[in-house]
Symmetry: D2
Subunit: 416 residues, 4 copies
Amino acid sequence: MMPNKRIANLDLALEGHRKIEWAWASMPVLRLIEERYRGSRPFAGTTIAACLHLEAKTACLLKVLRNLGATVAAAGSNPLSTQDDVCAALVEDGISVFSRHGMESSEYYENLRTVLSMRPRILIDDGADLVALAHEEMPGIAGEIIGGSEETTTGIKRLKAMEKEGVLRFPMFAVNDAYSKFLFDNRYGTGQSVIDGLLRTTNSLLAGKSFVVVGYGWCGRGVATRAAGLGARVVVVEVDPHRALEALMDGREVMSMEEAAAVGDFFVTVTGNLRVIREEHLRKMKDGAILANAGHFDVEIDLDALELLAIGKDRTRANIQTFTLLNGNRLHLLAEGRLVNLAAADGHPIEIMDLSFALQLLSSLHVLQNPSLEPGVYAVPEEIDRSVSELKLEALGIRLERLTDEQRAYMASWKE
Amino acid sequence: MMPNKRIANLDLALEGHRKIEWAWASMPVLRLIEERYRGSRPFAGTTIAACLHLEAKTACLLKVLRNLGATVAAAGSNPLSTQDDVCAALVEDGISVFSRHGMESSEYYENLRTVLSMRPRILIDDGADLVALAHEEMPGIAGEIIGGSEETTTGIKRLKAMEKEGVLRFPMFAVNDAYSKFLFDNRYGTGQSVIDGLLRTTNSLLAGKSFVVVGYGWCGRGVATRAAGLGARVVVVEVDPHRALEALMDGREVMSMEEAAAVGDFFVTVTGNLRVIREEHLRKMKDGAILANAGHFDVEIDLDALELLAIGKDRTRANIQTFTLLNGNRLHLLAEGRLVNLAAADGHPIEIMDLSFALQLLSSLHVLQNPSLEPGVYAVPEEIDRSVSELKLEALGIRLERLTDEQRAYMASWKE
Amino acid sequence: MMPNKRIANLDLALEGHRKIEWAWASMPVLRLIEERYRGSRPFAGTTIAACLHLEAKTACLLKVLRNLGATVAAAGSNPLSTQDDVCAALVEDGISVFSRHGMESSEYYENLRTVLSMRPRILIDDGADLVALAHEEMPGIAGEIIGGSEETTTGIKRLKAMEKEGVLRFPMFAVNDAYSKFLFDNRYGTGQSVIDGLLRTTNSLLAGKSFVVVGYGWCGRGVATRAAGLGARVVVVEVDPHRALEALMDGREVMSMEEAAAVGDFFVTVTGNLRVIREEHLRKMKDGAILANAGHFDVEIDLDALELLAIGKDRTRANIQTFTLLNGNRLHLLAEGRLVNLAAADGHPIEIMDLSFALQLLSSLHVLQNPSLEPGVYAVPEEIDRSVSELKLEALGIRLERLTDEQRAYMASWKE
Amino acid sequence: MMPNKRIANLDLALEGHRKIEWAWASMPVLRLIEERYRGSRPFAGTTIAACLHLEAKTACLLKVLRNLGATVAAAGSNPLSTQDDVCAALVEDGISVFSRHGMESSEYYENLRTVLSMRPRILIDDGADLVALAHEEMPGIAGEIIGGSEETTTGIKRLKAMEKEGVLRFPMFAVNDAYSKFLFDNRYGTGQSVIDGLLRTTNSLLAGKSFVVVGYGWCGRGVATRAAGLGARVVVVEVDPHRALEALMDGREVMSMEEAAAVGDFFVTVTGNLRVIREEHLRKMKDGAILANAGHFDVEIDLDALELLAIGKDRTRANIQTFTLLNGNRLHLLAEGRLVNLAAADGHPIEIMDLSFALQLLSSLHVLQNPSLEPGVYAVPEEIDRSVSELKLEALGIRLERLTDEQRAYMASWKE
């Protein structure tokens, strides 16, 4: 069957194939899983719709799904993270793709509708827009879906809100909450890739700079660790007292946003919330401050406020817009306030997405094998979660210590 | 009422008072709580039995309990961590104390029986020996207890085993599992204090050494972070694949115990399990290897195997026993395999115990105010947990960021 | 006077101006110096020839020289570091430029000859090729040069060899050996920019990887610190026992190249020497090993050996050539073995080059004001070196502590 | 010949022997040197006077000197660092010892006079008091001395002042300036041991604290690195702009002493200068601030000012004096302002002193073999310096990379 498509240019496929091949070489967990299931083709006859960042690593997941029998339809989850050459390569490989770098919002939603119209049984979502749209606009389609998975903090927050309201119609696996995901993807993945985005965009020194991380969840911790690893002095802004205290004892300074606004050279938002940097903060910032977002949606920095405050606005460098305020200060916004690691760099490191996508893949398989689960937000089963880390260790040739029988018994006893 | 006692020497009280005063100055959270409740004396008429490490910080908790009205009876939870001068000071301050530095095992259990015989309504336990003994030997006493709290990983493991077997007769609050506890006490507390124990015992350089951490739970992570912070190359031994992978990505080497045995200069066990370093490992170690335990019980290093393997055994330095093996290698055991941070140093930093003891105190209060809870292992209520971190931030003058109404609404919604 | 040029395309100037403007905003030291000397135009009537990496930061130095009165002729010091848009902008700004991205070796040398043929009085060199060529081919020109400066370890090594042979004909200031240079440029500059080059080229995770740094001089230390800061386990290869021991105590593993070859995931050479990774090492490497050079010349990895060993060679990704060996292993060479931070990223951070170029500028001024110095390699005068760091601190608003008179006297005394 | 002595108690020897034996096991470099020279007994007939911290590691040096034939007379360089049991053991081993823990200043000087009166040919000094006294009071003795060595920054500063004034009468080797010394002893040695002193004295948490390091030389860098490694936020006070900027880019905050005084929780002085913390700073400090010195002399904190400001003074804990100021604030002074690592802990780690003492030993041998050197301050010969690091690497079984002939030639050439 010929794949459907709405992409920029099929002629770009060659470069896309190269990129995918490069990624594939560093994805041993997906490879091991593919080897295990390739013979049985468990997804044969199943359509899977995915809304993901369409770049080389994602392409590897989609190709494995196809190799295991699925009909795959993919939409890009972000206009700036879509790579047109990768989309072209996917289409050549028989996957239906609907996305274009720099697409408008309307086009984005139209793409989601298109993939849903292909009547998928399983969804793989990133931010929960696909799920939300199915529920809001296409109830008939939603009724045919047996389940899916979601990989972001933001998406899971939304799914839980749906569950709480009683509107969620199928089971969704919270991949983000699996150990093999959040311990690695959120922390080491976001940490490294945000640094990558900042370095290649700005050519600015981090050593000795005041680096404000807004939000000290797993992603924020990762960003803070890497910024400190490059010599920055990290300031953390938090609403949760445990996390604030943890940041302090990790050696960070902890402040309110108002206080941090006045001292930061770099600001990275990673809260999953909206308008965490607002007009009153923008007014207090130093000349030359650099603003970036690493949360899923481009709502964390109040872009409307920034536009209103500015008396001038220029593109000063690739992926940098400079806003000149009335007080003469220039504030530099990276990647239009979208995920800086995906919009201004290549996203998470390959080895990290290998883990996260293995969870997506095995969760999809679990959905397929358990088609009658009640609607709700589910934890990824422990054995799946564990197997992903085990496969990675196996690929690395690392030996786990094994519990002795005596030790197992001891752990279950209470008498001394 | 005159306190009862079985302690080493009441004449040591002056030095004990000094130590307690020093600790008290760095315990702002306990101070704030004491101020709040001093007027109402909520524990008036209530006997509380505690089995804890009897040193200066613990003394502060016990004194606050007394100041809030309680009759307090304390036993030491470890023969090497008991400080005789602190015990003397506590007795002078009207608290019944039963412990002695270096006491035998039989004396230890006799002390537990004594405090239980004072018919406490509330228990504060560290390792769950008090709870276990009440259940095993003194069912009448156990029947009068309305609840208590437990602060160690080891103790909670035991309590959960009791709960699972259906024998636990009163509610116990798992202080260890509170954020204000494990994030700080297990990690920064154990981390720093284990380093303290190693440095003052050995005078050995950590920089450039191979430092094996057995167990990468919160305590193990803390020890690993601090060892690396002093320049050691850290090797981690783990049975859990997530933790093993996390250790790897934290920049540690990950190995089986067998492999690690051959490369380590220092070994610190912190698993909560027994015999994690066994004969086969001891045989492989390098001449001069240093062995320490930071788990609750002295069972993590197989001391019997060490004795059997040794052809000679000397006390080479305070808190160091050197075992000479048949192959000529000398293995140095610190603090007889007991908690190295408590037996060979002063235990966790004061500021850390301020948090942990605040949780113990507020949990005891919660038990008192909720005398009819079902038996079982309970999480510390979220508001208590949160309040401890908030009080600490307040004491430090640190400003948390506050959510706006718009942000609260956003976090509860799912429509974009 | 119209500038001369041999560049790729003058039409690219607009983007070049943007880049230069971005850099200029983060170069407060150069700005402060320009302000100080702009009125007196000390270089009026003087031709200065520079062989440097022709990108935006260098452009700022060249523009300041011009603004202080100099006639400036610039050649690119590396075919891959030359940015054509910056060259175009410089020509528009009245500077003679001879370079082109991707130029052949013959074109490179022709460019050097051209700038020398403009009869400069002062040279600013990077790698000492300009100085060497003047001595080897253009003795008449060399005779008119009153001096210059050199900023790399490699270049200074060559100049010292010339001085030792008695052939050096004019004074050269060893900018690399100034504190304001090597403490910052070599360490934090190389450190961050090499990481930048690796991340944007490979999208590979550093956390948990084995990262081999060959050479533990100031540059190597910087690379090692940043790699560790991103979670890698760093292995150091050194020929000097002090540095080897320092690496060990910094928490690195230290090995011979032969041993390191077998364990590395990443290799970065930064020795200033040639063929430090040779055939015998390439044969031992793991499948997927990534090879990069951060030394001045592309001689540190034996590229001929790599070509000879390979049975296949592909461009797998921008700036990556993959060599497949007979044993099936694939070795990935970044940026053709040229300086990975300049050829595959934007070079040192702007704030670092601000310091290094300030030294170049003040050294040129010193040469101009002292036209009769004997030939030889000179240290940058202490007051110049100190002033650069002082200007930077002034720009940052940081207060140095000042010695009291009593303290000065104490430091000069020996009686207690 | 029976050794002379003025020590506390010869009966303490057994514990002293144990301590020395423990240290000796971790001193492979001294062992290798002793093995090499034991047969030839090069120091036979030579009296060596040493003024050093008389604890177990130093004892190993003194015993090796004796084993190589020397007659050894030792005085303690600091009243608080002298360990009486070690002194007793040394006397039993045939070494003349003059020191006592807690001795008065007058006794200290009398001891120096006594060792000098034994007419040494070689001096081993620590702080240069022995050298200064010989010059000031005992010119006849000084005239017989053929040379010596000095290991501290402070001592070398004094010797250079003597040299500059033209009064120094014999050659002194600046052991402190050797790579094998300052790279390791000043940095990793001071770093770890200062932390040791702080931890065992205060039981305070470092994580999250503001830790002020006054002086960012090699010692200060070491202290800062280790404080950060334990989670503190480090503030640096410096008079030198290069070091200030380096501290900043190392991720520290940089301030004047006046600014730092108001924010610090811990203060460690390590400047080699006097009165770096003065009345105006003490007045600004927070309640509970902890003051320690790691410089050679107890002059860095203005103790007179502290006494004058205080309205109360108590010994609050071993090695802690608490001064209560008029404003109610309590400032805690550790170890009376003396070297906190030696007076309140066991001094540098054993493995570090192995390197430093190897330099002292080989320098003494060099003096002996070159009895006619001109007076002056000399660098330790490069081959000695190098050999110490090489012996250490040999003991560790670490392989240095070796230069090829081609590489040697390349390093000496300038033509491309």
